[in-house]
């Protein structure tokens, strides 16, 4: 089996491979680009507290980081175990416990302003990412419990520290009785 006798075989394979390769190149060029919908579907699973405890500014950047593969799925304390499991199911990964550096899982909580000590400086209103604080200059402020996500971002700007966080007991788990 001299080298020369293998030549026709090699040439045939090379020709076939080149032809098929060209076909693939042409078809790949026309294929649709990868749509960014995975990030949106990840964002839909996050609790949207916009608290930044996952070291990303808000929930959407964290979702984009997960979609791009830069961030792991266990960095969201307000979401806790439920969010990690949902993300693991979505992305086909194994659920891991919460990352230690982002702190313990945080039960749902709501901010509450002690109206006696509030001086109406209105510094907390722009800090609230979901506009859950109502008030004006020199007027006592208050938190709309239904809108507050418990992100604790209104605590630092408050000069008199009159805001505290109260844990909301779980949504009414009473037995659900139909007719």
């Amino acid at each position: 089996m001299t080298l020369v006798s293998t030549l026709p075989g090699l040439l045939t394979l090379a020709a076939l491979a080149a032809g098929l390769g060209g076909l693939l190149g042409w078809s790949a060029a026309r294929g649709p680009r990868d749509s960014g919908s995975v990030a949106e579907r990840i964002d839909a699973l996050l609790p949207q507290t916009q608290c930044g405890r996952c070291t990303y500014a808000r929930c959407k950047p964290y979702a984009q980081a997960i979609a791009a593969g830069e961030a792991d799925i266990n960095r969201c304390p307000p979401g806790g175990e439920l969010t990690i499991r949902a993300l693991a199911d979505l992305l086909g990964r194994d659920p891991q416990p919460l990352a230690p550096e982002v702190g313990p899982a945080q039960p749902p909580q709501v901010a509450w302003i002690d109206e006696a000590r509030c001086i109406g400086c209105a510094r907390c209103i722009p800090a609230c990412p979901v506009d859950a604080i109502v008030g004006a200059q020199k007027f006592t402020h208050t938190v709309i419990a239904a809108h507050c996500t418990g992100c604790e971002l209104c605590l630092p700007p408050c000069p008199v520290d009159c805001i505290e966080l109260r844990v909301v007991e779980a949504v009414d788990e009473r037995l659900h009785r139909a007719a």
């Binding site: 507290t49 916009q50 979901v130 506009d131």
Partner: protein, 486 residues
């Protein structure tokens, strides 16, 4: 477990009703102290509109609906309100707010109450407005405000009213006693409900194992015939009286999953509710009394009582000869869907159609739970056509979407599957917990959606402000340069 062809699934159960139906309906004496719970069993508590120390008369409003501000709860006795405080609750597992009224024995009625003359010719919206403040609710066990249901039926032009006299669950026989004793009042109620809902015709459904009730209804009908009303017997299979199943047995229409009967042009009311509507029209008295069955081998003389709302259960039991020994369990409702009450000091609510002092003879305890062997007994008896074994597996594994796909929200919690399960799995309880978990998860997702929406508006507003500020700054600088130049 043979079952009639008209109703493929379900169970044929021993009735245990004859003993309680023997005596006629007795009028229970007014309690010395009425404990009226603000949550009468529908899960929506009313707001109290009275405080401790106030004097009220029979029929004075003591509770209003938080949203519609209608007077939904009325004082059953005249006297001074001792307190409005949390007491052991009959619906939830903890405590609920109750209005406690000390009966001063005068029994004088609130002067504002007077009978509604020619209620049958009053226009429907006006009549529904009256009912909204009468406190009349569904007496079949759900205690859903009747006026709300009628308004929905009127708005959606319901065509068919079904009066539910099926009463398929063992031990409960308050509707049967009512039909035998007060059939004319039920027919009047039927005419009033037809008027209020604008429905074309009405069917009164009674199980075929209640011949006396059917005879009484037919006799009352012949004395005052009305071509819009028909009386029909349905197969005596539990749960023939479940709303969706009964509507399908009578009209053949299956109310689509996730929708209410009025969206399919149907309206289902309990015969007790019809009688309550008629009582309100005739006497003007709001819904402050109901017929309740006292049954079970743990009470001396089982029977049916016409009792005031708020009467402590202990007094009702005493009126029936007291307990025979100490009963195992006090159940509000029937053996399959009834709720075990922790204390007999709880006041009677509008949702309680039966109180059972169950001794060991009546109960058949569940025993040790074994793994599911997929025998399919539960699927054969499920009236909603579900596969409880698949539902139970996904609910236990915590896969709520999967459980939803298997029909979790179509489960009517009739407990037929529990009854026949050889592995004694608490299926109904597990489905209720899964529903609560599903509802909690939906609530979390809804809140997250709101928070994202508010956050995006917050970002947009900050950007717009910054934009406006920069534009204003540029404008000011250009004007300053022009002024400098000119």
């Amino acid at each position: 477990m043979a079952s009639a062809s008209a109703f493929p699934a379900g169970l044929r159960l021993p009735a245990h009703k004859s003993e309680a139906l023997a005596p006629a309906i007795a009028i229970a004496p007014a309690p010395s102290q009425a404990i009226v719970s603000l949550d009468q069993g529908s899960g929506r508590a009313a707001l109290p509109c009275v405080e401790a120390g106030e004097r009220v008369r029979v029929g004075t409003a003591i509770g209003i609906d938080p949203e519609t501000r209608n007077r939904v709860l009325h004082a059953p006795v005249a006297g001074v309100i001792r307190a409005v405080e949390p007491r052991v609750s009959a619906t939830g597992t903890g405590h609920g707010l109750c209005v406690v009224i000390d009966n001063d024995g005068t029994g004088d009625r609130d002067p504002a109450l007077e009978p509604i003359d020619d209620a049958e010719r009053m226009p429907a919206p006006q009549w529904i407005e009256c009912l909204a403040n009468s406190g009349v609710v569904g007496l079949g066990g759900a205690a859903f405000p009747t006026a709300v249901k009628l308004a929905a039926a009127l708005a959606r032009e319901a065509t068919h009213l079904v009066l539910n006299g099926a009463e398929c669950e063992p031990w409960i026989c308050c509707d049967d006693a009512l039909m035998r004793a007060r059939a004319p009042r039920i027919l009047l109620g039927a005419r009033l409900l037809l008027r209020a809902s604008g429905a074309g015709h009405c069917t009164i459904a009674v199980e075929d194992d209640k011949p006396e009730a059917i005879a009484a209804l037919k006799a009352a009908f012949s004395s005052q015939p009305d071509e819009r009303i028909t009386i029909r017997a349905v197969p005596a299979v539990y749960p023939a009286g479940a709303e969706r199943q009964l509507l399908t047995t009578i009209t053949g229409i299956e109310v689509p999953s996730g929708s209410v009967p009025s969206q399919s042009g149907l309206l289902c009311q309990n015969v007790g509710t019809a009688a309550a509507v008629a009582d309100f029209a005739v006497t003007g008295e709001p819904c402050i009394r109901r017929i309740v069955t006292i049954n079970g081998s743990g009470v001396v003389r089982p029977g049916n009582l016409d009792a005031l709302i708020g009467t402590p259960i202990a007094e009702l039991m005493a009126h029936c000869g007291g307990y025979r020994g100490t009963p195992e369990r006090l159940i509000a409702g029937g053996p399959l869907t009834g709720r075990a009450l922790p204390d007999d000091g709880i006041g009677l609510t509008k949702a309680m159609n039966c109180l059972v002092a169950a001794s060991t003879l009546d109960l058949a305890p569940r025993g040790a739970e074994m793994p599911c062997i997929r025998c399919g007994n539960c699927a054969n008896v499920c009236p909603a056509g579900l596969l409880p074994q698949q539902l139970q597996r996904s609910a236990q594994a915590g896969e709520l979407e999967q459980a939803g796909a298997w029909g979790l929200l179509d489960c009517i919690e009739c407990a037929c599957c529990d009854y026949v399960c050889p592995s004694r799995i608490p299926l109904t309880q597990r489905f209720c917990e899964a529903k609560s978990a599903l509802a909690a998860r939906e609530e979390r997702l809804r809140r997250a959606g709101d928070a994202r929406w508010r956050f995006e508006r917050h970002q947009a507003r900050l950007q717009a402000d910054a934009e406006a500020e920069r534009r204003a700054f540029d404008e000011a600088r250009r004007r300053a340069r022009n002024d400098g130049a000119s």
